[in-house]
Every structure is written in structure tokens, then in C-alpha cells.
Amino acid sequence: MKSGVAIAFALVAVLWLGTAISAHHPISAKFDDTKPQTLTGVVTLVDWRNPHVHIYMNVRGDNDADNWAVELESPINLQSSGWTHDSVKAGDAITVTGITARNGSRQLWATKIVMTGTGKEVLHFTPPSPPALLANRPAPRWPDKQPRLGPSAGGAQGYWAFPSSTVLAEATANVPAMDQYGLLKNVADAKLVAPMQPWALALYEYRQKRFLQDDPTYINCKPPGGPRQFQLSYGVQLVEDRDRQRIFVLIGGGNNNYRIIYLDGRGHTGQVGGDDDNPLYYGRAVGKWESDSLVVDTRGFNEDFWFTNGGLPHTEQLKLIEKFTRENFDTLKYEVTVDDPGAYTRPWSSSWTLRWVTGQEMPRHLCQENRP
């Protein structure tokens, strides 16, 4: 009896702990680039899983071997750079250079891996880059001349990726410097990012000072609602179902999530679909074509996620007006106006472009089981 109860309570503890410590993250949220370290040891396990691959290695300590977790890019990014789960195997002696975890645990973000015996460098991560631009091709169109948001008729499949900006900030002359995850170079510039109310500005600064480690998209695999879905690494696919007057937005970095933009004239409330008008991660989107641009009005968001890289706050009053314009075959312009009187002092806008990636499947990146 006692042992059974003990087991049950142990299960409670494990589940609880798992919730508390799981964290997928921007690199800077977990690792400190001012703390470089080099480790030499023997690989004990290669954990080839989303969202990040980990190599576990034993490193000789003062008295015994310490087991370190060496974190790498996602399987998608490693594979695109020529890695497989056999590139480094258990038993291999390796030397790893990287940066250590902010919390002092035995974790390292690897920037270089060398086979100790041969001196051969085996980690060659090359960030994906957009395909070379071909001749300036016009946007493909449907027979009624409306621009197509996907491939040309009979053409190769593809998707939209490589956003020209991965951070959301008001389009002004004074956009402050940020990294690709939306982390400000100088937190004092936070007020320049968007016209936030005082509480929202303070919360945004708080998130920034914590290096975005509280991001629920990474901690709890929450969906990337709002403009964020167009600023993630793995792109989006816009699937037009003209018979049913809707567009499906498939999100490469969104855990197999999709969003529906209705074009059939329905309103934002009373939609049949079982959601009962409750707030949603992707809100309720209704759109219409205005000349060559698709204009989408989305509202009905919940507050359970971050709608931007970098952690700009929002409330349930958030309303987005998004405008999609395929400027040519390879370029999609995305414009967004953020109207959230709960968090901002006035509506504000931003825009960026995405590139057409032709002939390729969109990657499907899964934030798996809240894994770190």
C-alpha cells in the first residue's frame, strides 16, 4: 500500500517537474554567449528528436565522469546541412565547443564538434537560404485573373518562407535593433517597438530581460497565432479551396496547425464549427479580395500565446487587418495592422515579404511533447 502510494506520488512529482522544466527556446533564452566552453569526452547517446537534437556525452570531471547534454539545431536543419543521426554515434570521442547554459546546468549549445581521434570537424550547420531569384516572373493567376497564392496551374508545388523580417515592430524610421528571435540589443529601446500601454511595455521589457525564456510557444508548444505564423523558420503554405471559398494556412513551424480564412461572406461571430465563439489561438479570419490583394480581418484571439517573436503582449481585444499581395511569382508582401486597445495606445502597422520556394515540400517542425 505504502509503496503504491509512493509510486503514485512519484508520478505526480515527475509530471509536475516535467511541466516546470520543459523549455524549447531561442538560443539566447537558454544559453549565454558570454560563457564559451570546450568539452572533450565520449558520446553516450544521440537523441535525434524535435525540437532540438541532443548529444549526451561523458566528460571526465575531478572525481568522476560528468554527463553533459550538448544541444544542436533541429533535425530538419541538421539534415538540410548533411547530418544524419549516424554522423556522431555512441562511443565516439568528440571535442565540442559552444556556450553554456545560463542556469549553470551541464548543457552546452554546440557551435563546433571535432572527432577527437582524427581532428575532423563534423558539425557543419549551414542556415537555409532563399533560392536564387529567377527572372522577374508575373504572379500566376486563376482563369478569372485573380492572383493565385500557391503554385501556377499545373506548376510545381511550393510554399512561402524566408520572411524578410522575423520580428514585428511598428514600421517607423526608428525600429530598434533586435536579433532574429526578437530580442532587443538594448532593452531601453523597447518603447520604440510599438505604441504600448504602460503595463504592456513593462511586461514586454520583463520578457526581454528574461531572454524570452517564458515564451509559451517554446515552453508549452503553444500555437503561433497572429503575424508570428508568417515569421517562423519553416514557412507557410496557402492552400486555396475556391469551391468552398476558403484558404487554409498551413504553418510549417506550427505543430501541424492550420488556420482557415473564410471568403464566403460570413461574419466573425456565430460561425458553425463547434468553437462557440470562444477565443482561439488563430482567431476567426474572414477575407475578401480587393483588386489584387487579399484583405483579411481576424479577431477573436485568446491570450494564451505570444503573437510575435520577441514577446509583444496582446489581449482578447486584438484585431488584425492583414493584406496579402503577390507582387510577382516569387514575392508575397504581407502587411498587418495591429489594433488592440487593451494593450496599445493606437493601431500600428508593419510589413515584410516572403519568398516562394518552388518544388519543395514545406518542412513540418513539431515542438514535441514540450521537450527542451
Partner: protein, 132 residues
């Protein structure tokens, strides 16, 4: 015995899933809060507070139900995340004017807390509530 273990395991799963689903990333005060404000002679030990934010003002209700009381003059100072609100609560002897002052702790947690004090014309005490 086995059923007890299963029940505890299910309870554990529920605890975990509720933690995951109760995220609230908007205004830090919005939501339902549960905690204590006793012991005291003028009210019970437990308190439920429901707070909302409409973009301009913080509104809310203490102990929604039969003896509820709306809050007034609620403020949140982001400099230190200092919370203040007041409420007029009737009892047999008349109206007691409560003043609450506290501070949000563990701001990034789903179940963040407000820790502070309360006072009325007769008593004063400690307040500790956690967001549900």
C-alpha cells in the same frame, strides 16, 4: 489499492494538463484568483477574486455569488507590479470599507500570486491569492 494508484495518477495528469491549459499572457491581473485573507472576524478565511481589464480600467468582483462585492479604484503600477483596489462590503453592522495593497510575484507564471495586505475600519491582515 490499484484503483487508488490509478486515481492519483489521473489526478496528477489533471494537475499537469490544467497547468498547461490555464496560460494567460495578456494583462497580468486578468483572471480568477483564489487564496486567503484571514483569519478575521469580519469575513471568512478564503477569498475568490475575479478580475478583468477592458483596456482602460481594472474591474472585478470579490467572492462572486451570494455575498459578492465589486472592487473599485483598482490600479496596477507596472513599476514593481504594485496592485491596489478597494471594496465596500456589507455585514450585519453596516458597510466595511476594505483597502487592498499587494504586489504580483512570479509574473511569468500561469499561477502567479498577489501577496499583500488588507484593512477595514475594524481589522487588518494578510492577503495571498494565486491566479487559477
Amino acid at each position: 489499492m490499484r484503483s487508488l494508484i490509478i486515481a492519483l495518477a489521473v489526478f496528477a495528469a489533471c494537475l499537469t494538463s490544467s497547468t498547461l491549459t490555464s496560460a494567460q499572457e495578456g494583462h497580468p491581473l486578468k483572471g480568477s484568483w483564489l487564496g486567503t485573507w484571514g483569519p478575521a472576524k469580519t469575513h471568512s478565511n478564503d477569498i475568490v477574486l475575479v478580475l478583468d481589464w477592458d483596456g482602460k480600467a481594472i474591474t472585478g468582483m470579490i467572492n462572486p455569488g451570494t455575498d459578492d462585492a465589486p472592487i473599485k479604484n483598482a490600479t496596477l503600477n507596472p513599476d514593481g507590479w504594485v496592485v491596489h483596489f478597494e471594496a465596500a462590503i456589507k455585514d450585519k453592522s453596516g458597510v466595511l470599507n476594505y483597502v487592498f495593497d499587494g504586489k504580483i510575484e512570479n509574473l511569468s507564471f500561469h499561477n502567479r500570486t498577489i501577496v499583500g495586505t488588507w484593512k477595514n475600519q475594524r481589522e487588518s491582515g494578510q492577503l495571498k491569492i494565486s491566479r487559477q
